[in-house]
């Protein structure tokens, strides 16, 4: 590893002062070299300071489950942009600019991400006056010009019961030349609220970062706190968390499989999956009373234990859901009209997925073997290894198949874990957080890699808490998947990614 890249591991805290401070050139070169060697940006963020913004970049090294972190101080309000050389840095740089007021020189798309005020009042990268409202979605959209080229704008309020976002299509007839996606409508200011935390509300904010990923984000937060407090979660606690995480994956994958079927007009699978998704949510409710896993996780383990009766109930429900889901999904592969719509639609090539730094099922559908449970194992996944399924076409069909394969493996995992639940406590008591530490906590949510980075100050409070939802890496992937497609294929492509708006907007 390069000198300025300091090694660290998922879920282990290191002293922040131990990370050597690189100068700007060395910092940028470290990132570029790492990308050249097949590493990628997991998280890249700024910590606003008195005179300079401290930039911290976490890079993933696929060998040996190792991560690397590098930092620098960016003074003077300007910093060179990497976005032209390294597209996966594009959104991260805009986010840093918006939060910390740092201007990235020569950034090709230098515009706001979420349309909010900077962390430090007065340090605005676009010199927007402090007294005036920031109109959301108003920015300089990329436009295609020429005869018969037209623009289609959709959102923020969409046709179904879904979250708000704004989409601009540049079309030539039915064909989409380009799609630009503008977010920020769901911005609740979560990262700004986290300074000086953890607060009494912090766990609730973590559970609602993306409400359909309560366990994925909740576990990442718990891992970060546990590393900072030096807690060791018991095996029983880890297994219960693992079961909840896989139930969350199953519920959402099932819902997506049904929704994909619905978007191609195949109602049997759509109807069946809509109901079976509820069966998985109700299994989570057996664990903790909430269908979304609210109140299950706590730093130190789980709030609830599992009784023998509940375990048997879950095993019975799982067997029924598996039978129903298998029957519903098998229909897809045997229906030519469905396959005809899925195959070859919304393709993201392997090269594109690598370049954008995509994660989760969408990356695996393009042939990238990338899964936190496998590459940077955490919790029970250190002990039990789930096989990673990949496909290579990168189209809607591949993203559909990946979901079904993962669902099957999750069901196997839950069944196995329920039958061999370790005895002992499910929870340990918490203790105060260590001062001056940095921890990277990554989990594999159903959408992909979730990364939380916590840095504590001299008193053990959060000097910065950074959240990266998998959607942050993958929204540009959806935009690229639409290039050259019919605009009428957008709902189907969108559903095959099913990315989070609130997880992106924070």
């Amino acid at each position: 590893m390069n000198n300025s890249l300091h090694p660290l591991y998922n879920g282990l805290a290191i002293p922040f002062a131990g990370i050597p401070q690189a100068d700007a050139g060395q910092f940028l070169q470290t990132i570029l070299d790492a990308i050249d060697r097949g590493r990628r940006i997991v998280s890249y963020f700024g910590i606003p300071g008195q005179d300079a913004v401290t930039l911290v970049c976490v890079l993933a090294d696929k060998s040996e489950g190792r991560l690397g972190v590098t930092r620098t101080a960016a003074g003077g309000g300007h910093f060179p942009s990497l976005a032209n050389l390294c597209p996966q840095a594009q959104l991260f740089e805009r986010e840093i600019a918006e939060q910390c007021g740092l201007i990235f020189d020569d950034h090709p798309w230098f515009k706001p991400v979420r349309f909010h005020r900077p962390f430090t009042p007065g340090r605005d990268a676009w010199n927007r006056p402090a007294g005036e409202p920031i109109p959301v979605g108003v920015m300089d959209y990329f436009q295609v010009e020429g005869p018969e080229v037209h623009e289609v704008a959709v959102g923020p309020v969409h046709a179904g019961i879904i979250e708000p976002g704004h989409f601009r299509f540049q079309c030539h007839g039915e064909e989409v030349f380009h799609l630009e996606i503008s977010h920020g409508y769901q911005h609740r200011g979560i990262e700004a609220d986290l300074f000086g935390g953890p607060h009494p509300r912090t766990l609730h904010h973590m559970e609602t970062l993306a409400g359909d990923t309560t366990i994925g984000h909740g576990q990442a937060y718990c891992m970060a706190v546990e590393a900072l407090a030096g807690l060791k979660v018991t095996p029983r606690g880890e297994v219960l968390r693992g079961i909840a995480l896989e139930l969350e994956r199953l519920a959402n994958h099932t819902g997506d499989l049904g929704a994909i079927a619905g978007d191609v007009g195949y109602l049997p699978t759509s109807s069946f999956c809509g109901r079976i998704r509820g069966d998985f949510l109700n299994m989570t409710a057996v664990l903790c009373g909430s269908r979304f896993g609210r109140g299950l996780l706590t730093p130190g383990g789980t709030v609830f234990d599992l009784t023998q009766g509940q375990r048997d109930d879950l095993l019975r429900r799982l067997a029924e859901a598996r039978r129903d889901l298998t029957g519903a999904i098998d229909l897809l592969w045997n229906t030519p009209s469905v396959m005809g719509r899925l195959e070859g639609t919304g393709t993201v090539s392997l090269e594109m997925a690598l370049e954008l730094g995509m994660v989760g099922p969408a990356a695996r559908a393009s042939g990238i073997k990338r899964d936190v449970r496998h590459g940077y194992p955490f919790g029970i996944f250190r002990m039990t290894h789930l096989p990673v399924a990949t496909a290579f076409h990168g189209d809607v069909c591949a993203r559909t198949m990946i979901r079904w394969q993962e669902a099957q493996k999750s069901m196997d995992f839950i069944d196995e874990q329920l039958r061999q639940l370790p005895s002992g406590d499910h929870r340990v008591t918490t203790s105060p957080l260590a001062a001056g530490q940095l921890v990277v906590a990554m989990t594999e949510g159903w959408r992909g890699e979730i990364c939380h980075v916590a840095i504590t100050d001299d008193l053990g409070r959060f000097a910065r808490y950074k959240v990266v939802d998998p959607s942050f890496h993958n929204w540009p992937g959806l935009a690229m998947a639409l290039r050259g497609q019919q605009i009428s294929d957008f709902p189907l492509c969108n559903k095959s990614f099913n990315l989070s708006y609130c997880g992106f907007d924070l």
Partner: protein, 248 residues
């Protein structure tokens, strides 16, 4: 085709008999609070760890605001306990206050003129204004075959122009403020408004965050409040059936 028919037979008829038969809630579901536990919490009041949302106050022998309550698994305000009673929806904001001596409230039917108009066909336009996608998901689930919302004449529609009411989830972020009002204005009168979930009622986990507006009723009048974070589909359906006077 034959495979689809066989699969259909195997899956069976799965629409639940509710409301003809009662619903079975999960053992650990947290619904209506145990009133005696509110009084107990008032006596053992622990100043050190109040509810971070001010949902519980010790005044008057213990009062819980179900509009602010997130129904936490471990109530930081003390010994507040919850029953599995999911029937929480009400038509007035003050009916969400639970305490000793307070009447058990449910949503009341719409006024007769609205009931005549919407009683057999009620269409909603949903707007997620900062929601985390949990309220949205459990609203969506009502349209699946298990709940089959359509059998009650209720449907979610794509355009506000086709709607009789606005269905709001989320704390109303600054960035959704205008879009929410524009959607409301686009719905032809008379119209009703539903605040679904703790966020839409009072800001939920984001209460008093500088980027949110603490729920929808500061902006437009609300006709149905559905508490929970998120509300269980059973809680949502209970509220809907009650305002349409379909629950006897």
């Amino acid at each position: 085709m034959i495979r689809a028919l066989i699969a259909r037979i195997r899956q069976g008829h799965r629409t639940m008999p509710y409301p003809a038969a009662p619903l079975q809630m999960p053992e650990r579901f947290r619904g209506y609070p145990v009133v005696s536990s509110l009084e107990r919490a008032a006596e053992e009041k622990d100043e050190a760890s109040p509810c971070p949302y001010g949902a519980y106050t010790a005044e008057g022998g213990g009062c819980l605001d179900m509009g602010k309550c997130l129904f936490c698994a471990e109530c930081s305000a003390g010994t507040v306990e919850f029953t599995t009673d999911y029937q929480l929806a009400v038509t007035r904001r003050d009916h969400l206050m639970v305490g000793p001596g307070a009447d058990r409230r449910h949503a009341s039917p719409l006024p007769p003129d609205l009931l005549r108009m919407f009683g057999r066909s009620l269409k909603f336009r949903e707007v997620s204004a900062g929601g985390c996608n949990a309220c949205e998901a459990d609203t969506n689930v009502l349209s699946t075959i298990g709940w089959d919302l359509g059998r009650f004449g209720i449907q979610f529609v794509a355009s506000p122009r086709h709607a009789d009411g606005l269905w709001v989830t989320g704390p109303v972020t600054e960035n959704m403020h205008q879009a929410l009002l524009t959607t409301y204005e686009a719905i032809p009168a008379p119209k009703i408004v539903v605040a679904c979930g703790a966020c839409a009622i009072n800001g939920g986990p984001y209460l008093d965050s500088p980027r949110v507006l603490n729920g929808v009723d500061s902006l437009i009048p609300v006709d149905l409040y559905i508490p929970g974070c998120p509300p269980n589909p059973a809680t949502i359906l209970d509220g809907l059936l009650r305002i349409l006077d379909k629950l006897k």
